[in-house]
């Protein structure tokens, strides 16, 4: 469906990273394997490898974000690339400059890669169709559609703790309707062959036809967490209370908050994940967020390695007329 044709070059190598959907299991695993190699770079005396020296990466953030932008920046620097940070508020573009014009101006500055975060679904995809052929696009989050690097760092974290995907039951809890993270996680988990992917949410936060993505839907949190190996909590945004989707944070926490009691329904060696930032007392109890099952802080450091892997894989494509050798 989306993205797989445009994400790969004609040799089947990753050219753009827009979505976890449509990529093969072996490609997802190679992202994880490359990330393992890059993970050790941060522990060295010189926290850099010269792989992308001389390349320029532009962070195009149409939606503000400190965490994601900084990890992409760190990843780029550890690969010795130069980084341009552009925080383009959407009002600037609505003042006249079209998205295409913005892109062409940046291309004239000889950027090799765009890391894009945008409020509209399909934006990264659109940008990938507009850029010159040598430029790679990495999706740092588009609307409610995808956040593929987040999903991959979560897969990396899961693999580090659980090794074998095929035995895992994973529950994703929270605002699935608006979550680009949830969609990317679901595609990645299913492609990597987990035993079962569950989503747990109130009716108002479940999108139509979601079963088509390959998930089991639960409205009861206690049942949904029974026997799972991985619990992925999603952030609940305050706007949802205003939009007639939920009555209050307290009620949400009562029904869907992750407390130690609820967590006890999962397997005793279950891990708790969260893409951050956490709303303590809304979707997750502090004791769980800081507890022994939580791998939330590790997710952050894994993010750098995974983003290094994705940047290196997309930039290191063979030029088309040389083709694969050896």
């Amino acid at each position: 469906m989306t993205g797989n044709i445009i994400q790969l070059d004609k040799n089947g190598n990753l050219k753009h990273f827009l979505s976890t959907e449509g990529l093969s299991q072996s490609l997802l695993l190679s992202i994880l394997d490359h990330a393992e190699s890059f993970a050790s770079v941060g522990e060295r005396h010189v926290k850099k490898v010269p792989l992308l020296r001389g390349k320029t990466i532009a962070n195009l953030f149409f939606e503000p974000s400190t965490r994601t932008r900084t990890t992409f920046e760190l990843a780029a620097k550890r690969l010795s690339a130069d980084i341009l940070n552009l925080n383009i508020s959407t009002s600037a573009t609505s003042k006249g400059e079209t998205l295409s014009d913005t892109l062409h101006t940046l291309e004239a500055m000889h950027c090799d890669m765009f890391v894009v975060r945008h409020a509209n679904s399909g934006a990264a995809h659109y940008i990938a169709t507009q850029v010159a052929p040598h430029i790679s696009v990495i999706n740092a989050g588009d609307g409610s559609h995808a956040h593929p690097t987040q999903a991959m760092l979560d897969m990396f974290t899961i693999r580090r703790h659980k090794q074998d995907f095929s035995k895992l039951k994973v529950a994703i809890v929270g605002d699935i309707l608006h979550s680009r993270v949830a969609r990317s996680e679901i595609h990645a988990l299913n492609t990597l062959g987990v035993l079962e992917t569950r989503i747990v949410a109130p009716h108002t936060l479940i999108p139509a036809g979601v079963e088509d993505l390959g998930v089991h839907v639960y409205h009861d949190m206690d049942k949904g967490l029974e026997d799972v190996d991985v619990v992925m909590m999603l952030r609940l945004q305050k706007e949802r209370m205003r939009g007639a989707l939920l009555p209050s944070e307290q009620e949400y926490f009562q029904r869907y908050g992750l407390t130690s009691e609820r967590l006890a329904k999962a397997r005793s060696d279950a891990i708790v994940m969260h893409p951050g930032p956490i709303n303590r007392g809304v979707e997750i109890d502090s004791s769980v967020a800081d507890g022994e099952h939580s791998v939330i802080l590790q997710q952050v450091s894994h993010g750098i390695a995974v983003r290094m892997a994705v940047m290196a894989m997309t930039m290191g494509r063979h030029s088309d007329d040389i083709g694969k050798s050896k």
């Binding site: 993205g3 079209t98 609307g143 036809g209 088509d212």
Partner: protein
């Protein structure tokens, strides 16, 4: 100018005519069918031996983009595109700029249509002033100026009391209301049909109930006020059923479907194809099949192009930021033939949906080939075929969702009031 069209298959569903016969035209009227009138000497003879001779088509909804949106299209470019597809009469909605809520704008449109001289334009007047959904427009004056009906175009009227009053007032002017039924709160800024596709693509979704709730509300008010109500561009199977039940009850309710919804579904959005960003949205295959069933059982009595040519920038953005609408006018007839070729509808039914049936809804004397009728005729060569490509489009709008489609049947000649206004041989 005396014209004879020789040996064509004359197809006029209004008069149940389907036979190989000659057609004779003089002084802008049809003066003979089959038998040449005494003393008739033709100035021009058109050989229609392997062609089908049809009444000039009536497009129930097309936007020519004048006045106000000339960067998207002009009377010149769009009427040529229409003519090339055998269309001789077009009804245009009031959302021009300025809006058709004053007689002066009606007069402007009539004048420009005369100047261009390729098609008859039948404008709809605004239902509310400035399409603001609050105050009644001067419907009586608009009717006097030449509007054949009233509409709020795509602007929703959410206040039921105001909706009721517009129905009552239009009824008092003996005007048909052309209503695009969509509840704006349920639509909730959606851009595509709510379902597995919007979930996968993460696009804001429009539930089916946005249409069905609005249709139900309108039907109940129509029942109360007795207004003639026409539903524009029904898109859901459920919506068709609601209208069918109302018709069975005897309510003066009609409906049309847009050509895109008869061929395409939500699946065609695929990789965020903004040419498939439409209003109403492309719905599921079940809905598409429901529309076809609605055509076959008579619930839907007209098919329109819903032509909305756009400039390149309007579609050059992430999906939800693009403007909805497709450029369809020059493919209306071939696409209807396509449905007939696939045996989804009969060919004569396809022609009915494009000729006398929309004319009846509009209340105009068009869409038939009778002696004494205006000589609006088109000649279709079923053996010509085309590949749809943006660069080949005559319309200024290249936003066609049918890019790459192979379509059978091209119009070779179109006549308006007995004058040849389109000849494919003269196209460069």
């Amino acid at each position: 100018m005396r014209i004879s069209i020789k040996e064509g298959r004359l197809l006029d569903p209004a008069n149940k005519l389907d036979a190989k016969q000659d057609l004779f035209i003089a002084d802008g009227k049809i003066v003979g069918i089959k038998k040449k009138p005494d003393g008739f000497e033709s100035d021009i003879q058109i050989d229609a031996k392997d062609s089908i001779v049809l009444p000039g088509l009536v497009d129930l909804c097309a936007r020519l983009r004048e006045p106000g949106f000339k960067h998207k299209g002009t009377f010149q470019s769009e009427s040529l595109a229409a003519s090339s597809s055998g269309i001789t009469s077009i009804c245009c909605p009031p959302d021009t700029n300025p809006i058709i809520d004053s007689p002066a704008v009606v007069e402007f449109i009539n004048q420009r249509s005369r100047e261009t001289g390729r098609i008859n334009i039948y404008p709809l007047g605004a239902l509310t002033r400035g399409l603001n959904s609050e105050h009644l427009a001067e419907m009586y004056l608009l009717k006097q100026a030449g509007c054949i009906g009233v509409s709020n175009a795509l602007q929703p009227i959410d206040n039921a009391e105001i909706l009721r009053r517009t129905f009552e007032y239009a009824h008092s002017c003996d005007l048909t209301i052309y209503l695009y039924a969509e509840d704006s709160s349920l639509k909730n800024n959606g851009v595509a049909h709510e379902g597995a596709i919007t979930t996968r693509l993460g696009l804001p979704a429009i539930p089916e109930s946005a249409e069905t709730v609005a249709i139900t509300r309108a039907l109940l008010l129509a029942e109360q006020t007795n207004v003639r109500l026409h539903f524009c561009r029904v898109s859901s199977a459920r919506g068709v059923k609601l209208i069918k039940d109302a018709q069975a009850q005897g309510l003066p309710v009609t409906a049309d479907a847009a050509i895109c919804n008869l061929h395409l579904t939500e699946m065609d959005i695929a990789d965020y194809n903004s040419d498939c960003h439409l209003q109403p949205p492309l719905r599921s295959e079940r809905d598409r099949a429901g529309l076809i069933a609605g055509i076959n059982d008579g619930t839907i009595s007209a098919v329109c192009s819903d032509h909305q040519p756009h400039d390149v920038d309007a579609k050059a953005a992430p999906f939800s930021l693009t403007e909805p609408g497709a450029s369809t006018i020059e493919h209306l007839l071939p696409l209807m033939s396509h449905l007939a070729n696939r045996k989804e509808i009969k060919f004569t039914e396809a022609i009915s949906l494009l000729t006398y049936q929309p004319a009846n809804i509009l209340g105009i004397d068009k869409g038939t080939l009778g002696i004494g009728k205006d000589a609006d005729v088109c000649i279709l060569d079923p053996n010509l075929h085309q590949s749809v490509h943006k660069k080949n489009l005559l319309s200024a709008g290249k936003n066609s969702p049918f890019q790459g489609w192979e379509l059978q049947g091209l119009v070779s000649h179109t006549l308006l009031n007995g004058k040849i206004v389109f000849d494919r041989n003269e196209l460069k």
